[in-house]
């Protein structure tokens, strides 16, 4: 090699090494995001197990109790006349039969008219935790154990890692701390995990009687005069201890985000005391209250992705009347949530895509348990194809209006579609699919239109 060639190659190598190091070290910077369909997504896991018969088919008692009474009890989501006999799903005015007053529709136009209804999709799991896992990870979650985090990355982690979202850009609002719900805000996947997890509240606990006792009297320290020295000392102590990443429980927020969360907690207690927290007009169950607190998170953080979990319809295991009431209230809570976004949060109004879907259906045939109306209850089991029948609703920018996709004889869409759909909305669908963890049959719902 002559001197000239040596110098030339050295120069190329010298320039190339830092560039390649930059490329390897800052991988996410090079990941090209596609066009964003909307800056905000609210995903309502309309969970607990919803039978297709009482929802999409609007069969009311005709699809379950052998009574020839049909009708729609999801006024905000679906088009269709309400039943005109044996009304049990509403509220109970004084001196009136139980549930005889249906809750008035909140939305001027049903979500079905405002958006796209995938009327016949397939769940990949007939259980709650597996079903919720499939909604959030886009996998079949076939080997997913209880009381452990999802084994595949969640949509929160994909967004935080590949779209650069902050922790407070992604929220999971759970309706309980039971049934491993708090574990759904991130996976234990070694390439993702807690460093990319979503913030989580189970507001019925955080802001309920437990939280009042344990959190509501907390001081909020002055950011500069008090918090800064506290964090300086804590930083020194943590540097001395030097634990490995992943050994600490819980997700990470920056000091600024932590302060924002502390302010938020204090504000919610104050607003709750002052009666300023907005709840659905009928807030007689945990789902409605959870959705009410979710609006507080939306108002304060305006997260890019908020996922809220409901589940009271699962009372169907032992009380069919209660199931009808909770289904009616879940629709009411969803209508309230959509209305709140459109009317109370200007940044998110007309900028948010709402997605709602159950995690699984319920069985065709009832179990022997009868309720106060002598109506039989329904379980959900892996052996019954009816337990795999689900639906979903989408509304918002770039979502076709008044469109129904799929039918009983032509199911379109899977429970694993929601991760690529949300990734698609934020322009990282290809990146997420390239990671190789999704159900091979999963597609963005936009690609199924």
């Amino acid at each position: 090699m002559n001197r000239k060639k040596f110098i030339k190659q050295s120069a190329i190598l010298g320039a190339g090494l830092p560039l390649s190091a930059y490329m390897l070290g800052a991988n996410s910077l090079l990941e090209r995001r596609g066009d964003e369909k909307a800056p905000y997504v609210v995903f309502v896991m309309f969970a607990g197990g919803v039978r297709q018969q009482e929802a999409i088919e609007k069969k009311y008692l005709a699809g379950s109790q052998g009574l020839n009474i049909e009708g729609n009890i999801m006024f905000n989501m679906l088009e269709g006349q309400a039943p005109d006999q044996k009304i049990v799903f509403g509220t109970t005015p004084a001196f009136s039969p139980e549930g005889s007053a249906p809750i008035p529709k909140l939305l001027g136009q049903t979500l079905q008219k405002q958006g796209t209804l995938f009327s016949e999709m397939r769940a990949v799991n007939a259980g709650h935790y597996g079903g919720l896992n499939s909604l959030l990870t886009g996998t079949s979650a076939a080997s997913q154990g209880l009381k452990v985090r999802p084994s595949a990355p969640t949509i929160f982690e994909y967004l935080r890692k590949h779209a650069g979202f902050k922790a407070t850009d992604t929220w999971f609002i759970g309706n309980t701390i039971a049934n491993s719900t708090p574990l759904l805000n991130c996976s234990d996947h070694p390439a993702y995990g807690l460093d990319y997890g979503a913030n989580f509240f189970a507001p019925m606990i955080t802001f309920g009687t437990d939280g009042i006792d344990v959190l509501s009297n907390a001081k909020v320290y002055h950011p500069q005069e008090e918090l800064t020295p506290i964090y300086q000392m804590k930083y020194f102590l943590d540097q001395t201890f030097k634990i490995k990443t992943g050994e600490m429980p819980g997700i990470r927020n920056t000091p600024e985000e932590k302060n924002q969360i502390k302010e938020f907690v204090r504000n919610v207690f104050q607003r709750k005391d002052a009666g300023l927290v907005s709840f659905p007009p009928v807030s007689s169950n945990g789902d409605a209250l959870t959705v009410g607190y979710a609006t507080e998170v939306l108002r304060a953080f305006k997260p890019k992705l908020l996922v809220v979990n409901m589940s009271t319809v699962d009372s169907c295991h032992s009380n069919y009347t209660s199931y009808l009431q909770n289904l009616h209230r879940a629709d009411h809570a969803l209508g309230f949530l959509w209305n709140y976004i459109q009317t109370r949060i200007p940044e998110m109004a007309n900028n948010t895509i709402l997605i709602a879907a159950p995690e699984c259906g319920r069985n065709t045939n009832p179990n022997p348990i009868e309720d106060q109306n002598l109506w039989k209850a329904f379980d959900h089991s892996g052996a019954d194809p009816n337990a795999y029948r689900i639906w979903s609703m989408m509304a918002g920018p770039n979502v076709p209006q008044n469109l129904i996709v799929g039918s009983e004889n032509n199911p379109i869409g899977r429970a694993t579609d929601f991760v690529p759909t949300i990734a698609d909305i934020f322009g990282i669908k290809d990146i997420v699919q390239q990671q190789g963890y999704l159900d091979p049959a999963a597609r963005s719902l936009f690609d199924r239109l």
Partner: protein
């Protein structure tokens, strides 16, 4: 013969009270000994119950009631960011009438002792010379730093979450 009996009697008595080999006696007692070391050897994460009950005792010198402990555990589980939840719970305890911590005057007048006691209380170990030096300098150069702030940093630190 009579005298001989006397003599035998006296000799027998003399044997009874004669010298015997003294048996060795072990004596035991308690000697004060400082067992704290400066080594950091904590590897196991405290459970929520362990963390909360120890925290309550360290800040109020009283055990937490089972009812309050149960509520506190539930609240921790309802939070995605455990560190932030801990910090809110700590600051809530700092507003508790049962709070029992040294005064700021005590800290300023007995700084070395305060640092030693704080490490012993929260970390069950002695501070290293570097740690003593850091806190001595930090507290002396920041007149607005209070015991509450020092305790908050220790109680929210990662080492305090391990044993």
């Amino acid at each position: 013969m009579h005298n001989f009996k006397y003599l035998l009697f006296i000799i027998a008595i003399a044997f009874l009270f004669s010298c015997t080999k003294e048996k060795q006696k072990n004596q035991y007692g308690v000697v004060s000994k400082n067992i704290y070391s400066t080594e950091i050897s904590k590897t196991k994460l405290k459970t929520e119950a362990q963390y909360l009950s120890i925290l309550n005792t360290d800040l109020t010198q009283k055990p937490i009631s089972p009812f309050k402990l149960n509520r506190s555990i539930r609240v921790l589980e309802s939070f995605g960011d455990r560190e932030t939840a801990n910090e809110i719970i700590i600051s809530n305890l700092m507003n508790d009438p049962a709070l029992d911590i040294p005064s700021n005057t005590y800290m300023r007048q007995n700084l070395d002792q305060f640092i030693q006691e704080t490490y012993n209380k929260f970390f069950i170990r002695n501070p290293s010379e570097a740690e003593k030096e850091y806190f001595r300098n930090f507290i002396e150069s920041n007149p607005k730093v209070t015991v509450e702030m020092v305790y908050t940093s220790f109680a929210s630190s990662q080492e305090y979450m391990f044993y």
